[in-house]
């Protein structure tokens, strides 16, 4: 019977090795975040690797999604968070993966104008109309958030907060996971909820 125990140990080891090998398929907290190069709303090209040394937040968004509206127009929750992040020196990037013709798809100028109207202050907006960055991160919802530390390691992925509703009244009652994670990182602590369920509208990928 001893053999079967040894087998299990072997087996666990092999499974872990495989797990590491396939990690590129989906971002895993504690592992290097996938890198990409993408166009931004102001017409430049941004390479994620160029942001090494700074904490980066990726926020998938779609201005027409009611869940995004909840956290922007209705409450100012995310714009406020973006400002707090900026004060901490964090780079906050919105990512728009809506395909052309689908809800939330905008050109660069519109994206910037929308942010101005909503009092939003991200460091930049990534235009990902072909969905390649979205699929690289397996982004599922708007909003869906990822936090990458200065070493390029993924520290957080998941929802904006703990109450999955479209009602702004719930915001004060919810735990804001992103704020919690950013504060923990700033204090050099471990992120308490490193992977949570994202909630919101589905990302409107092409096809």
């Amino acid at each position: 019977m001893a053999i079967s125990h040894i087998a299990k140990l072997f087996c666990a080891g092999v499974a872990m090795t495989f797990a590491a090998a396939v990690a590129v398929a989906e971002p895993v907290v504690g592992k290097p975040a996938p890198t990409f190069e993408a166009k931004t709303a102001d017409g430049t090209t941004l390479n994620l690797e160029s942001l090494r040394g700074r904490t980066v937040v990726l926020e998938w968004t779609n201005h027409e999604c009611p869940y995004v509206v909840k956290h922007y127009e209705k409450s100012g929750n995310i714009p406020k968070l973006q400002k707090e992040a900026a004060e901490q020196g964090v780079v906050w990037l919105q990512v728009i993966s809506s395909a052309p013709g689908k809800q939330g798809h905008v050109d660069g100028a519109t994206a910037l104008k929308l942010n101005e109207e909503r009092g939003a202050a991200p460091s930049g907006v990534i235009l990902d109309a072909d969905g390649s960055v979205g699929k690289l991160y397996a982004a599922q919802t708007s909003p869906h958030l990822f936090i990458i530390n200065p070493q390029g390691i993924l520290e957080y992925k998941g929802g904006i907060d703990s109450i999955k509703s479209a009602k702004e009244d719930d915001i004060p009652k919810a735990t804001n996971y992103v704020r919690e994670a950013l504060n923990a990182l700033a204090a050099g602590k471990k992120v308490p909820h490193a992977s949570t369920a994202p909630y919101g509208c589905s990302i409107k990928y092409a096809g």
Partner: protein, 774 residues
């Protein structure tokens, strides 16, 4: 007397509601279900989908509330048109642009202390969906906040079987077209009989096509309160239909194994499933993160069950944690596909077989290592030491010659293992009934394993020797000098090693047995190579000999000591068996062990007397083993989960049916097959339900069952009369009728009892008639 109805929303299903007139109101008096009442709808809803509670709507309700109240009172059959308003109005129907919502009840009235079902019915326009408990990758489940009279309690939503929809890489668990979300309500004991029971539900949902709209509606319903014991009425048909869509407890054991960090394996132990009739099998986890929603779940049908591979998500449950959710099976029925949901709360177990989770390369490696270890077993070591080692030790030949002997010996071992592998492959191919899928869950297998462990123990204790004559014959061959001798030494080593493999090779064998033939062969060859390896090495480097332990009495002691873990394993397996098949299994297993012990002794003792005695002894021993195994078949039959009750059905015979109908007897017909999962669920959930059995008894119903497992042509003809080409088919012939009532494919106790009661008198019969018998 017209109810205002400004109809803009197309509602093809309910055209009669477009204009309500006196006739309609009359209907309501006799069909007092909530759904027929208050069918006001407003074009405004279409325009103001998110502003449902505008002042205008309030005003309209105020204006018409007297009629609405009258309508709700219709349940009491006391309604007089134009009766003045008694209480607040009730709007049990509200529509948005995408969803028509209706509050319905499973009763027409409540009584103090009663438990009733309420349902929120959503009729969703094409291509849009609302969400299940776990919405999947995005979305949000519907919520209902109940506002009930003080003391009343509402359950959580009872979610019907969900569906799934995928858009690109995102998969959601959702409802399309229409759904009724049920809630169980406990009416407090102190409600006033003769009064009203007002219900308000604030319902929040997210409705999505590709885009999503969160919506909220408020629905009201007022039910009269009647005396306890009084008939509460039929209520809305939507509630009954929704009850049939609720997941049920699985009638078959379900096990979940964590086979790796990425995969869970779910086993539904339903024997004899027909892969051809299964359309889809999907497990919907209750919680986010348990599984990857978007990855496919693949199933495989085995003779003794169905295996479903589940790609694990972020929060894969650990061994011992529970996996909760609904397993939904879509099966081809006799009139379209049938869906059954099984509600599962299953503790996750470690991999079923010690080796099931091994990778191929690792299995080969383990087999090799296991083979090497076999050399130390008392059954093998003497052969090697006495025969083979001497060859090396007293080598008068050249080094090349010795090496060749080593190679030929290896060939002998490996060839023997190849033969073993081919025997197994042939067995697997010949009798798919071996059903390796579930061997460790099958009581019969566990029993045989217990016997085997006990027999190996007896052999190690010296009660008898397995393969003595083979070994004897083998020794003769091995005496030969030359390469033939070496080859047969290899064969002999394999033969004598076989009884020792059971406890040591579990992992590699467990793996090999569920693999396709080439992999199985590879594992066995690897095992053989492992067994041959030490001798092969010795033949190449004779200097290694001094590292070997010398044979001696210690080996006999070791062998005897090793018997006790075997007895222990047998005892443990008997315990497992009792868990699986009940206390009777202990008696069967222990009696079987006694028989095995007797067989071993008889076999051994008669061999020392004479050839003839030996023959009788062998036959007697074989008979004892057969009896012990026969006990296993009794075990299987008796291991049914439900206590055996007297059956209340007889097999269907056309002649008997005709006779019964001619006598005007009520008859219930059930056409089923052992591979039809939904048929058997219907039996367990509805037809074997106590209240149904009682109803059959009280109504004197003759219950006939037609088993179509082997496609009986008589039954095929009968089915074709009802336009069916398969099972299930449920028919009820009320007394003195030769036209049957057709029941739906998915049964609940209420559906069966309802069909019996609705048709128990000769007058009735508006329900679902089919073309009659010819």
């Amino acid at each position: 007397m017209l109810l205002l109805s400004i109809e803009v929303l197309p509602n093809k299903q309910n055209p009669h509601r477009a204009l309500a007139n006196n006739h309609d109101m009359t209907n309501r008096l006799f069909n007092p279900a909530g759904e027929n009442c208050a069918s006001l709808r407003f074009s405004l809803f279409a325009a103001l989908s998110c502003l449902l509670f505008s002042g205008f709507r309030r005003w309209l309700f105020f204006f018409f509330r007297s009629r609405l109240a009258a309508c709700n009172l219709a349940g009491l059959s006391l309604c007089i048109l134009g009766l003045p308003a008694l209480q607040s109005y009730a709007a049990d129907y509200v529509a948005t642009e995408q969803v028509e919502a209706r509050l319905v009840a499973g009763v027409d009235a409540v009584s103090p202390g009663a438990e009733v079902y309420l349902g929120v019915h959503q009729k969703i326009i094409a291509h849009w969906h609302t969400y299940w408990l776990n919405p999947g990758d995005s979305g949000s489940p519907t919520t209902i906040a109940w506002h009930l009279p003080e003391g009343a309690a509402a359950s959580d939503i009872l979610w019907p079987i969900p569906g799934r929809s995928s858009m690109g890489p995102i998969t959601n668990y959702s409802y399309e077209n229409d759904v009724t979300l049920l809630t169980r309500i406990k009416v407090p004991d102190n409600v006033v009989v003769g009064g009203e029971f007002p219900i308000k539900a604030v319902v929040d949902w997210l409705v999505c096509e590709e885009e999503c709209i969160p919506q909220q509606v408020e629905l009201d319903l007022v039910l009269p309160v009647v005396e306890p014991g009084e008939d509460l009425g039929q209520g809305s048909e939507l509630v009954e239909a929704a009850l049939a869509r609720l997941p049920v407890e699985s009638p078959w054991p379900v096990k979940v194994f964590r086979v790796s960090d990425e995969t869970l394996e779910l086993w539904l132990e339903f024997p004899n499933a027909d892969p051809a009739t299964i359309r889809d099998l999907w497990f919907y986890p209750n919680e986010w993160g348990r599984l990857k929603q978007s990855s496919p779940q693949t199933y495989e049908v085995f003779p003794d069950g169905i295996k479903l591979q589940l790609p694990a998500g972020e929060l894969i449950p650990a061994v011992g944690e529970s996996l909760d959710g609904v397993l939904v099976l879509t099966e081809q029925g006799s009139s379209g596909d049938m869906q059954r949901g099984f509600e599962l709360v299953v503790p996750v177990q470690a991999a079923a077989l010690p080796g099931a989770s091994l990778s191929f390369a690792l299995a080969l490696l383990l087999a090799l290592a296991g083979g090497v270890i076999l050399n130390l077993m008392p059954c093998v070591f003497p052969v090697l030491s006495l025969k083979a080692l001497s060859l090396v030790r007293h080598a008068e030949h050249s080094a090349t010659h010795i090496r060749n002997h080593g190679l030929v010996y290896t060939l002998g071992v490996v060839a023997s293992f190849a033969v073993l592998a081919f025997i197994l492959i042939a067995l697997k191919a010949g009798g798919a009934q071996i059903g390796w899928g579930f061997q460790f869950q099958s009581p019969l297998f566990v029993l045989i394993a217990a016997y085997l462990m006990f027999a190996v123990g007896l052999s190690l204790s010296g009660v008898f020797y397995i393969g003595g004559s083979l070994a004897g014959a083998g020794s003769g061959l091995t005496q030969r000098s030359g390469y033939a001798g070496s080859f047969f030494t290899g064969v002999l080593a394999t033969v004598v090693a076989t009884p020792c493999t059971a406890p040591f090779m579990a992992a590699a064998l467990g793996y090999a047995l569920v693999q396709p033939a080439p992999k199985l062969l590879a594992v066995f060859l690897s095992l053989g190579l492992g067994l041959a390896l030490p001798f092969l090495l010795l033949s190449y480097w004779p200097g290694l000999q001094r590292w070997l332990p010398r044979p001696g009495i210690w080996m006999e002691r070791l062998k005897q000591v090793l018997a006790f873990p075997m007895y222990g394993a047998a005892a443990w397996l008997v315990w497992v068996l009792v868990q699986q098949a009940g206390a009777d299994a202990a008696a069967i297993a222990l009696a079987g062990l006694v028989l095995i012990g007797f067989a071993a002794w008889l076999y051994s003792v008669t061999r020392q007397i004479s050839t003839r005695a030996s023959l009788f002894g062998s036959l007697g021993a074989a008979a004892a083993v057969v009896i012990a195994l026969a006990g296993g078949s009794a075990l299987r039959a008796g291991s049914a989960d439900v206590p055996q009750i007297a059956e209340n059905w007889r097999p269907y015979e056309e002649a008997e049916l005709q006779q019964l109908l001619a006598n005007g007897e009520p008859v219930f017909l059930n056409f089923t097959a052992s591979w039809c999962i939904s048929c058997l669920v219907n039996e367990k959930v509805a037809l074997k339900n106590e209240s149904v059995i009682r109803e059959f008894e009280e109504a004197g119903v003759h219950y006939l069952k037609g088993d179509w497992t082997n496609r009986d042509p008589q039954i095929t003809t009968f089915l074709s009369r009802f336009g069916r080409s398969g099972v299930p088919l449920y028919l009820y012939y009320p007394p003195n009728k030769d036209k049957p009532v057709l029941l739906p494919q998915i049964l609940t106790p209420d559906i069966v009892i309802g069909a019996l009661r609705a048709n128990s008198t000769a007058i009735s019969s508006s329900t679902d008639f089919t073309s009659g018998r010819n």
